[in-house]
């Protein structure tokens, strides 16, 4: 067994222990430790990725030398490695970008708690990505939820706590359903390891028995996870949670946490139930419809918002809709598009949050459009970041958004179910318009110069790159990441395809 194959296990354990360790560290060291760990995880995932691309295929990693079906397993393929890599990069960037804001918003004593939570979040995400065991997945889902909740309420005010409660309630509903589903699956198959479950599920299906329970199980799991990832009808908790927590949390929540659940759902589709069975059940059509609704609804409610953070949050609802719509297409291409969209949205949305905070900071912390006038000049770098993000969301060529749009459209057009072609492409176009409406409205707003006298009288402060090098650097990295996703998408898409093939 090659040494590199320990990477998944190491990265999970590493982040978890760093969390535990930082509980006794003072705030500064905790910060450095956390940064170091995330960087390390990223580096290791990159290494793993290169290795996996080299040898191809995937491997399973036995924990504690118990063979299946008793032992607990970790499985790593190209796709998992890619996910781990991108997630850690984005987490790092969001933390760096929000660091100053964190100082202002969270009292110093809470900081190392914050970093503990981040470490836990990272570890649970990695576990969700790598694990090969359903019940482990459940446990880490819960850990994920708890740490996310902590991240929301770390900033102490009524809003955040209320948001945290709502978030908790919704996601507990979700995880309850998930748990139930898992139990029933266990009941049906008598296994907890994904690969074993899959075999027996295939058997059961081949025999044609237990159709109804199987359908119910699929339903429970899917609904549970889609509640947790804020699919359209279950998104009520999202705007507050993303809108009022401190910015790094918002960035991480919107770009990572929900994506972790979605990735788990993909894994369940492919590695637990088997994608063919899923396609034969109608669940995908349901997801398709809800996805389309989300794309429209999210954007519409974003248009009515006049608070920039909440607007971005609502746009997340729409983007999640894209992803589920991609599932709903029920083709390989659709799935690839969705996975790419997960990456793209993670990169772009966190950038939007980070740069939005930069804009509000130079407008006396107000997040309403009226006050944001001209902030693009007061904080140039954030303005550029926001513009790039918006263009990417609208789907201008060269930016990441365009690629995923193209992928979705191609998937839709190549779809063999002609019923889905036109709804998809039309809704894609419409939601593009809606995105354009609210994002570019904001862009125009921030680039309409405010008259200097008023600015002086308001006492707006101007952003100096010299005082916040880190922030500027973050934004630049984000832009670079976006461009990379936009212009060199081919290898990434290729990796995704390989990974999905390895799944099934």
């Amino acid at each position: 067994m090659a040494f590199v194959q320990n990477v998944p296990f190491f990265s999970i354990i590493l982040s978890m222990f760093s969390g535990i360790v930082s509980s006794v560290l003072p705030e500064k060291q905790a910060k450095w430790l956390n940064t170091a760990v995330i960087t390390l995880v990223g580096a290791m995932s990159a290494w793993l990725l290169s290795y996996l691309l080299e040898v191809g295929g995937s491997f399973t990693f036995m924990m504690g030398h118990f063979p299946a079906p008793w032992g607990n397993e970790i499985r790593a393929g190209a796709l998992e490695a890619l996910m781990a890599l991108i997630f850690s990069i984005i987490m790092l960037l969001s933390l760096l970008g929000g660091r100053k804001k964190l100082k202002d918003e969270v009292e110093i004593t809470k900081h190392n708690i914050y970093y503990i939570l981040t470490d836990l979040l990272l570890s649970s995400l990695l576990a969700l990505i790598y694990t090969n065991d359903l019940f482990t997945a459940y446990v880490f889902v819960e850990i994920n939820t708890i740490s996310a909740c902590g991240l929301i309420m770390i900033r102490q005010n009524g809003r955040t706590i209320e948001a945290a409660v709502r978030y908790m309630i919704m996601s507990l509903l979700g995880s309850g359903l998930l748990l139930m589903g898992i139990c029933m699956l266990y009941d049906l198959t008598g296994h907890l390891l994904m690969s074993n479950i899959k075999e027996s599920v295939q058997q059961i299906m081949a025999e044609g028995s237990y159709r109804v329970p199987m359908l119910i199980t699929i339903g429970l799991i899917t609904v549970g996870l889609s509640i947790k990832s804020a699919l359209f009808p279950f998104h009520a908790w999202l705007p507050d949670a993303y809108g009022y927590s401190t910015v790094s949390s918002a960035a991480m929540l919107s770009s990572l946490v929900s994506k972790g659940y979605i990735f788990l759902l993909i894994k369940i589709f492919y590695r637990v139930i088997g994608i063919d069975i899923i396609r034969n059940s109608n669940i995908l059509n349901v997801l398709f419809v809800f996805g389309l609704c989300a794309m429209i609804f999210g954007s519409v409610s974003a248009i009515w918002e006049n608070d920039i953070r909440r607007m971005i949050s609502f746009s997340s609802v729409a983007q999640i809709g894209y992803i589920y719509m991609g599932f709903g297409l029920g083709t390989e291409a659709g799935m690839v598009a969705s996975v790419f969209h997960i990456l793209m949205h993670a990169a772009t949305k966190s950038m939007l949050f980070i740069s939005a905070i930069g804009l509000t900071d130079v407008s006396n912390g107000s997040r309403h459009f009226a006050e944001l006038t001209g902030s693009g000049y007061r904080n140039k770098i954030a303005g550029i970041g926001f513009t790039v993000g918006s263009l990417s969301m609208v789907g201008i060529p060269c930016f990441a958004g365009f690629v995923s749009k193209i992928l979705f459209a191609q998937a839709a057009v190549a779809n063999n179910a002609p019923v889905k072609i036109f709804p998809t492409v039309i809704v894609l176009a419409i939601s593009t318009i809606l995105n354009a409406v609210y994002f570019l409205k904001t862009v125009i707003r921030i680039y309409v110069p405010e008259d200097p006298a008023f600015e002086k009288q308001q006492g707006y402060l101007f952003f100096q790159i010299s005082r916040q090098k880190l922030y500027g650097l973050t934004i630049i990295c984000f832009i670079a990441l976006n461009l990379v996703l936009g212009m060199m998408s081919q290898p990434i898409v290729h990796i995704i395809e390989i990974g999905l093939q390895n799944f099934s």
Binding site: I396, V437, K441, G486
Partner: protein, 491 residues
């Protein structure tokens, strides 16, 4: 000539424009000289490229399989690029004086010349995606030009413009994606690239898609239901309205439609289908609609904008005939209308600049004070009316010939629409001319005060364009011959 010159031609004005912000020019004068030089050099380069055009395609950026930005010069590119290259330096010259009273000129000039490069990009794009890329880019870089005055009204107009054109592009993208799947390639080939083996059983779907994409591009071309952004965008400074909203942007839309129809889906696939009928009907309707609104409009620039709407639909109508002759007609009107409309817009701008009057009712008797401007305006007006001997007549003649030749009854009706709109044109243009030249008995010229023609920087472009109108009207034979070659795919 080497292919790389295409990239140079596109990048030159873009970089040159950006440098305006970077280089600390001692004074406006030097900056303007510099800009004009950039424009002229670019145009010369474009002429050279058209003169001996590089063979083959040049791939600049490669996104993924089938997605790349690449340039090639074919007949259409030559027509469009040369047209642009003729107009831009003159318009720039004009804008120098016009913008003197405006705020932050540097930004304006920056984007004004960047737009030049982007438009050339549209002209040179060798496949749908490259064109789409520059098409979107064009939308974005023209935004600062429209909201230049930063008034509430301007910002509203800008938003409308943004939403409309981005939306249109989004719908156009659907068509492009279908082409990616059902086409053998994305490069433009006269006669279409549809892979009929694949497209065969999905013909109806593809027709619907064509309709969607055509309407999508039609937004920039201000076809009937989606044209209302154009009059509002008139709040922009006149050089913008004249060059972009009479030529560059809107013609880019038409150009895209032609590319879509003749070079991607292929006329053989579309001819005689219901789609052709639908789009043609739409075009005919917006021909009449535009004129009617223009007659009702009292604001000079808005009136001209509506007239633009109707004239653009002439082009679309002619293109929708889907015969080589139709393409010839479309190209002819593309060029002729460009010259006429830019001339009339610049005249309107000169009037507004010298007198500050923006409504037609206030124009009584100015012709005596500004003979040159109104002379040019008269020429362009007559040209738009289609008086023989001027540009408009030629293009209408070609369109009508194409329509008659196609033998479709709908096309005959189209000719009718053309003539109705010509009649309405004479109403809305002549009413301005009448006011200016024959103010009425009780009118005293003293009331006007010290108004005179603007300086040479404004007059030279005007006179040149007016001469162009007449020249196109009198000696269009070689041009039309060239267009015929283009339409038959000789380039």
């Amino acid at each position: 000539m080497s292919q790389y010159w295409m990239t140079v031609a596109i990048l030159l004005p873009i970089i040159g424009g950006i440098l305006v912000k970077v280089i600390p020019f001692p004074n406006q004068k030097i900056m303007k000289i510099y800009l004009e030089c950039v424009m002229v050099v670019t145009s010369l380069l474009v002429f050279l490229l058209a003169w001996n055009r590089p063979e083959g395609t040049l791939e600049v950026v490669h996104f993924m399989q089938g997605l790349s930005i690449s340039f090639r010069i074919d007949g259409m590119s030559m027509v469009f690029s040369v047209l642009i290259a003729v107009l831009w330096p003159l318009a720039m010259l004009y804008s120098f004086e016009y913008m003197e009273r405006e705020q932050h000129q540097r930004v304006f000039f920056l984007f004004y010349s960047v737009t030049y490069g982007v438009t050339l990009g549209i002209a040179y794009a060798s496949d749908m995606l490259s064109m789409y890329f520059f098409y979107e880019l064009l939308t974005l870089v023209t935004v600062p030009l429209i909201m230049h005055s930063l008034s509430r009204q301007a910002i509203h107009a800008t938003r409308k413009y943004l939403y409309y054109s981005l939306g249109g592009a989004a719908f156009a993208l659907i068509g492009i994606v279908f082409l990616m799947v059902y086409g053998s390639q994305l490069d433009f080939v006269l006669g279409g690239v549809l892979d009929l083996a694949k497209a065969g059983e999905k013909k109806q779907v593809l027709l619907v898609v064509y309709l969607i994409a055509c309407l999508g591009f039609g937004v920039k071309a201000a076809m009937f239901p989606m044209g209302s952004w154009l009059p509002d965008a008139g709040v922009a400074p006149t050089p913008v309205t004249a060059l972009l909203h009479a030529v560059a942007v809107v013609k880019a839309g038409v150009f895209a439609i032609i590319r879509l129809t003749y070079y991607s889906f292929g006329t053989d696939f579309l001819r005689g289908t219901w789609v052709q009928a639908v789009v043609m009907a739409l075009a005919m309707f917006s021909v009449v609609y535009g004129c009617t609104r223009a007659v009702m409009e009292r604001h000079i620039k808005r009136r001209l904008a509506y007239s633009t709407i109707s004239n653009l639909s002439y082009i679309i109508f002619s293109a929708m005939i889907m015969t080589p002759l139709g393409l010839v007609g479309a190209l002819t009107h593309m060029v002729c209308h460009a010259v006429m409309k830019i001339c009339s817009f610049l005249c309107a701008g000169a009037i507004m600049h010298q007198t500050g009057k923006t409504f037609i009712d206030d124009l009584n008797g100015y012709a005596k004070k500004m003979p040159v401007v109104f002379g040019c305006f008269l020429v362009s007006a007559l040209g738009l009316m289609g008086v023989p001997g001027l540009a408009g007549f030629i293009s209408k003649w070609n369109i009508a010939q194409a329509a008659v030749d196609s033998g479709r009854v709908q096309a005959y009706l189209g000719i009718g629409c053309l003539l109705i709109s010509a009649f309405l044109t004479s109403i809305y243009m002549m009413s301005i001319v009448f006011r200016a030249y024959f103010p009425g008995k009780e009118f005293h010229y003293e009331e006007l005060g010290e108004i005179r023609d603007p300086s040479w920087r404004m007059c030279v472009p005007l006179v040149l364009f007016a001469a162009g109108v007449a020249g196109l009207g009198l000696g269009s034979a070689p041009l039309v011959r060239f267009f015929t070659d283009v339409a038959n795919g000789l380039y």
